[in-house]
């Protein structure tokens, strides 16, 4: 190695450099290449415009060709918005939203309350993992919705049946995700704590647990989305209130507009919870550098 003095090159003043325009292909079609911020916003808005545009067009076409029944089966976006308002004001749809949200929250919290601790234990202790892993892995492949008839037999049509469905749907997935997260905590991180004088217990709660938290919150966020699916299925099968039962009744009255409005409501609720999780994540774990989602 020689110690040559660093070459000193005067930077070219940027104004003097001709501004190079990068070609369309190079800007937008290079894999993993970041695109300009403005383009990102335009694309995001554009996707909504596109979806609603296609939808409006489709509705207009169908309603034109069949003026009598067209609006019944393929309502336009505007008609759906009007229906949604009508549902809220005249049909107490918010009541159904409330019931569904209650079931989701209850089932999800009960599932997470067991799945997260158990998953962490399974990820850190081989004894616990060897005991619980085989049955959980098997049950995971049994669709939660297939349990609905059985649970109706056992629990009836009340709230506990709905909550159990969500619990089954969330628990078995979440516990394995958390186990995996715990299992991935690097050994070095724990070892270094031991060599700093930490006891097993200190390593567990001061190193192991905090190391898993950010990803556990991510796992909760993902499984929350699945919880909605299971709930709606349960409500579609049999329920007195809830978005799912509202959809079922709307179907009997041939109200496609109400069904669509209800489905969109679920989507918005999902987006809302997802944002909530993202905010919690950002506030609780400021040290995690996340790729822009």
């Amino acid at each position: 190695m020689s110690r040559a003095p660093a070459a000193r090159v005067a930077p070219v003043p940027s104004a003097a450099r001709p501004r190079r325009r990068r070609g369309f292909i190079r800007t937008y079609l290079t894999p993993k290449q970041a695109i300009p911020g403005r383009a990102r916003v335009i694309l995001a808005i554009g996707s909504f415009v596109f979806v609603f545009g296609v939808w409006s067009l489709l509705a207009a076409l169908v309603q034109n060709s069949s003026p009598q029944y067209g609006a019944l089966f393929v309502p336009s976006p505007y008609q759906v918005v009007v229906t949604w308002w009508d549902m809220m004001v005249n049909l107490s749809f918010y009541n159904d939203v409330g019931w569904s949200t209650f079931r989701i929250v209850a089932g999800f919290l009960l599932a997470a309350a067991v799945a997260v601790p158990l998953g962490l234990l399974m990820g850190s202790f081989e004894a616990v993992r060897s005991f619980f892993n085989p049955p959980i892995n098997a049950i995971r492949y049994m669709p939660a919705s297939a349990f609905i008839p059985l649970l109706i037999l056992l629990q009836g049509l009340g709230e506990d049946e709905k909550i159990t469905i969500i619990w089954i749907g969330v628990f078995f997935q979440l516990v394995l995700m958390v186990m995996d997260i715990a299992h991935r905590v690097p050994d070095e991180m724990l070892n270094v704590a031991y060599t700093l004088g930490a006891s097993r217990w200190t390593v567990f709660y001061k190193v192991f647990l905090p190391a898993t938290f950010p990803e556990v919150v991510d796992a909760l966020r993902i499984t929350m989305g699945w919880a909605w699916t299971y709930l709606i299925v349960a409500e579609l099968v049999a329920a007195e209130h809830g978005i799912g039962s509202f959809i079922l009744i709307a179907e009997r009255y041939l109200r496609a507009d109400r069904i669509i409005a209800a489905i969109i409501t679920i989507g918005i609720l999902g987006l809302f919870t997802d944002t909530l999780f993202a905010i919690v994540h950002r506030l609780a774990f400021p040290y995690v550098q996340k790729v822009r989602a």
Binding site: M189, Y194, F285, Y287
Partner: protein, 263 residues
């Protein structure tokens, strides 16, 4: 007085293909204030040896003694610096450095004094409140070394701490480490596969054989301290390097050959 002694340590693993002898009867003593380096071909078990020294792995035979007392578990007397993943990402640099003292329940003002001094010495000024994610690779390792030193261990065990850094950063880190070592005079056991690094840093170099790892040669590095960048171009440095390169090359060949025989 802080000395670490590895006494007749042997390590065997049981695998599906039978027993693998990783380490065979290794004995060495690092006396108080000595900087000892272990070099060897990859796969010779030098990292395993360091894990054993730290108490993180139990050897099949033999024991590790600190100041003459056998050790059974890892502890604050043997601080360790790993190649990677070792800083706690949820703690600021300062909190990382204060981790050991905090466990020992040192009073906060004292902790703060220790961490401030090490932050200055390790040239991490301005990054005390930064999270590890915001640091470069070299800074991360400086913080990791600072954290180990903050605990004031009897022995410092370092497992290729600069192995993941680029050549320029590594050189700077080596210079910084010799400076720090001159200041604290810790007993150090340093594992590396980088021969020049071992000569630049060490008082003594243990050259290991390929698997099963044994100590093949012990070399005293008689280059005076303080060592600086110019040490690297000195005649004695080149001489020592050629000597070690020859041995390691021979051992690496053996390792490759034995792999071929097995295949």
């Amino acid at each position: 007085m802080s000395e670490i002694q590895i006494a007749d340590v042997a390590m065997r693993f049981r695998t599906r293909h039978g027993e693998v002898r990783a380490l065979e009867r290794i004995s060495l003593t690092v006396p108080d204030g000595q900087f000892a380096c272990i070099v060897g071909p990859s796969g010779c078990g030098k990292s395993t040896l360091l894990m054993i020294a730290a108490g993180l792995v139990t050897p099949t035979e033999g024991e590790v003694l600190v100041n003459g007392k056998p050790t059974l578990e890892p502890g604050a007397d043997r601080g360790m610096v790993f190649q990677s993943y070792s800083l706690f990402p949820w703690l600021s640099v300062r909190r990382n450095i204060e981790f050991g003292p905090e466990i020992k329940k040192a009073p906060p003002p004292e902790r703060r004094k220790t961490s401030s001094e090490l932050i200055r010495l390790m040239r991490l000024d301005g990054f005390a409140d930064a999270y590890p994610n915001a640091l470069s690779g070299g800074m991360k390792q400086r913080a990791a070394i600072a954290r180990a030193l903050a605990n004031d261990p009897e022995v410092l065990l370092m497992d290729e701490p600069f192995g993941a850094l680029d050549a320029q950063t590594r050189q700077i880190m080596q210079e910084l480490l010799t400076d720090i070592w001159q200041r604290y005079r810790k007993t150090v056991l340093f594992v590396t596969h980088d021969i020049e690094e071992a000569i630049f840093l060490g008082d003594v170099i243990y050259v290991m054989t390929s698997r099963p790892g044994r100590i093949r040669t012990t070399l005293r590095v008689d280059i005076p301290r303080p060592r600086t960048f110019d040490t690297l171009t000195g005649p004695r440095f080149t001489e020592l390097r050629n000597q070690v390169v020859g041995i390691i090359h021979e051992e690496s060949l053996k390792a490759v050959e034995s792999e071929l025989v097995r295949a």
